[in-house]
Symmetry: C2
């Protein structure tokens, strides 16, 4: 009864009236029974959590091109083979960059006690070039926006170190719009070095992009542009960016910056692709995925071992339940998301001719916190088809359907080609507190909430695999912001896009 009335509400929210469910693409009763079984099993399984624990505790940070990344590939492949999947390691050429020494200190500033320096908390941004080993020392220019920087002009910026103290909007994040808050701030991390270098700056430091106030540095990719000098780029903790700004208002501040990362020759990483072959339409594919690489400061638990582990859990639960999907369920652990979606872009290139037979692509890459529903990147009619799935997911509090342009991070590469994309709609209020910091560790994953996410993704994946008809494909132009994100080595989170919401 509850499910039925929920369904009515959903359809009404979409502007339809009850009874108009598209019967032509409805799940069979036996499939709905299987979904209920999978849902209950997901909420009782430790499989995913144990995989997150191994990836983070035992393997640790999985930086693109690192031995740990390679170890993670072997681990995931081995685990998927244990589940009986057909496993392929797809080679992906990736950039390789390694962190070196990193140090920032104020060597002269208003009120300084003799020659006493103040040490700041800093980290290099992914892809940054290095300072000389002894560092660079220069006066600071502190600004809050690109406009403010432009207004200063080359005369006042040349030869200086620019500090972008653009605060992360934690209130917006707390209000459920973490992605928007991130979008506002990440522009400085992605493009600050170029903007500063255009005016002759010799280094660029951004206020760490994220919430929390524990003097943590947040790393992440930065970008350079042809024809503009590549200058060292780092992130200060929020506290230190604010300190520099306060001091700079009172007088000249000189900062010494040492960042000695290295860019190494490209390496070959691998996407891990494991197929649970479909019984009726094995050539039609539903992807469940996360990205296997991480930044190097933490152990990449919420970003994104959790996503990979939940994808593996889908195969585990389907196998455990003795089910076989009609379409193929393909578990994918993507390579090199952080430096710029290299793994998924490689996939799209190689599998281009098969994408029209991709029934959908699912990814979890906004942490592992409680899901309230499903984000849909695709045609509005998809929400109608999925109404019974949403009704079932209300049992674990995840009954909302929200439709936008593209969902997920890696899988937007497929979404642009028309494949419907899906991600859990999650509680992201605290995600950006830990994102890209040393504190992204196993303890940030709640076993209970991870199971809730596994329930959403498993039910969704099995439903997509068993729907009578393929969902509509809707190719879309690659958005301009995505282009700049990719250059910036930045994931392209869905929340940047306008979206429509339907809530059962």
């Amino acid at each position: 009864m509850r499910a039925a009335s929920t369904l009515v509400l959903t359809l009404c929210a979409c502007g339809l009236v009850a009874g108009q469910q598209p019967r032509s693409n409805a799940l069979a009763d036996s499939d709905l029974a299987a979904l209920r079984t999978l849902h209950a099993a997901a909420l009782a399984s430790d499989y995913a959590y144990e995989r997150v624990a191994y990836l983070t505790d035992s393997i640790g940070p999985r930086l693109t091109g690192s031995p740990q990344y390679a170890a993670a590939v072997q681990y995931v492949a081995s685990e998927l083979r244990k589940l009986g999947l057909d496993v392929r390691l797809q080679p992906v050429q990736v950039p390789r960059w390694e962190r070196g020494e990193e140090r920032a200190e104020l060597v002269a500033y208003p009120g300084q006690a003799g020659e006493a320096i103040q040490r700041l908390v800093v980290t290099a941004l992914g892809g940054s070039v290095a300072t000389p080993p002894e560092g660079i020392t220069a006066e600071v220019v502190a600004v809050r926006s690109f406009d403010e920087l432009e207004a200063l002009g080359a005369e006042r910026v040349a030869g200086k170190i620019v500090v972008f103290n653009q605060p992360f909007d934690q209130r917006l994040a707390e209000a459920g719009h973490a992605g928007e808050a991130y979008g506002q701030s990440v522009a400085y991390r992605s493009n600050g070095a170029v903007a500063a270098a255009r005016l002759g700056a010799i280094a660029s430091l951004v206020r760490s992009v994220g919430g929390a106030e524990y003097r943590l540095p947040h790393t992440g990719g930065t970008s350079y542009t042809e024809g503009v000098p590549r200058i060292p780029a780092g992130a200060l903790s929020a506290e230190d960016a604010a300190l520099v700004e306060r001091l700079a208002k009172r007088g000249p501040v000189r900062l010494r910056l040492v960042l000695t990362p290295r860019t190494l020759p490209d390496a070959t990483d691998h996407n891990v692709i494991g197929d649970l072959k479909g019984s009726e339409r094995p050539d039609e594919v539903v992807i469940v995925s996360g990205h296997l690489d991480s930044w190097d400061l933490g152990t990449g638990a919420i970003d994104d071992a959790a996503g990979v582990a939940v994808a593996m859990e889908v195969a585990n639960l389907v196998k455990q339940a003795g089910l076989r999907p009609k379409r193929t369920i393909r578990v994918v652990a993507w390579a090199a998301e952080e430096p710029g979606l290299f793994g998924s872009r490689r996939y799209v290139k190689e599998y281009a001719s098969e994408l029209r037979k991709h029934a959908g692509a699912i990814e979890m890459d906004l942490g592992a916190a409680h899901p309230i529903g499903i984000e849909i990147g695709g045609a509005p009619s998809i929400a109608e088809v999925l109404a019974p799935v949403a009704a079932l997911l209300r049992r674990s509090g995840a009954g909302m359907l929200r439709t936008g342009e593209l969902a997920g991070s890696d899988i937007i590469a497929l979404g642009i080609e028309g494949v419907p994309t899906f991600a859990p709609l999650q509680d992201t209020r605290r995600y950006f507190d830990y994102h890209h910091t040393p504190a992204d560790t196993l303890d940030k994953v709640s076993p209970v909430e991870l199971r809730e996410n596994a329930a959403v993704i498993t039910v969704l994946a099995y439903a997509l695999a068993n729907l009578p008809e393929m969902l509509p494909h809707t190719p879309r132009p690659r958005p301009a912001w995505l282009e700049s994100r990719l250059r910036a080595g930045e994931r392209a989170h869905f929340p940047f896009l306008p979206r429509r919401v339907s809530s059962p």
Copy 2:
């Protein structure tokens, strides 16, 4: 009216009946009017916040024996002189210790990817001896308690690195018992190295003492004992201590530890002592204080620039109001609290013959968050005398009086000699999240809540200075736990002691 009825409640709570107020030691109406003026002025003043800002932003960390500490002494003395106080710099011989390189990494552990290491977040504890420059590498023994360590015995501990993974009880802290939570955990920081060394361990690492989960190391003093080898002692972040424990349960874990702090010859720091001379009884003294030194990781904003600044604010507000107290109000910025109350112990030694004329000593050293009242270390009758003060402080939510044995940190040295001690009763739920970490910075101080604390301390100090009679002195034996804390270089927070509560 509200004040009067409050008073009745207070007395009832103390087991008295209304009407028994000790009239012999009641404030004059003019004094009560002055208290109201000071209270309102405190809630509108930025003076204290500006002093915290200078001490932290401009001077920065004020480690005992450092140039920054000396600069802070000059700054506070200069500011107090601007207010017209008689200022004395009292020399204090202090230990000097400097942090060096610090690094911990897992070099072998279950599930390791080839030779990939896992880097841990570590910091040296104050007073720790150094490892060799290249570090020490040994197998880890992870325990949760001294009992567990003892049970293992020398055979299984000798030659190993002991990790004490005793978790801070954040729930207890959230419930308002942060001091108790701290007390449970700090024993391992203070005494872990000795306990480990007795069994032949070659280093000791404690789980950071404090709340929050942002992979922050918390420093703090550690102790050694004659006849027991001095082994390097550090603190891991909570996450890393838990990681080591999890891995050690699965197999041998080898850890490389590099800590290269230096112990230097003793130095001379100074207590800053500024007197606002009393009009009628200038030889009777009310101390308002905080400690001027800090650890070196953060800038010591909540520990304890805020305490010093609020003490300075008392003098500022009394001066601004054109008031002159009957007794002398003495602003004290204590030296070397963190390594073991060196400043206040020196004070007690030099001023021993004058302590019987100390009407009270106030200190704020549990952060700068909202006060709900006053902690009293002294005779229960003091609460009765202060009932009108508490009634006034209810205006800013700080009307509770709680009586225990000793209040404050530095000032317990005076309390032991019989001087009544006082501290604001504060919201300490988040204090130990930041305490002794890099994140103890200016932004952790709320300007509004700092003013609320200034209101409590100013009103209390002026009341103590103008009461007709001295409050009773109640000398007490130095508690055993205090002795061990002092050896451990540990502040002795009042919450460890049993106490009685009376709340208006």
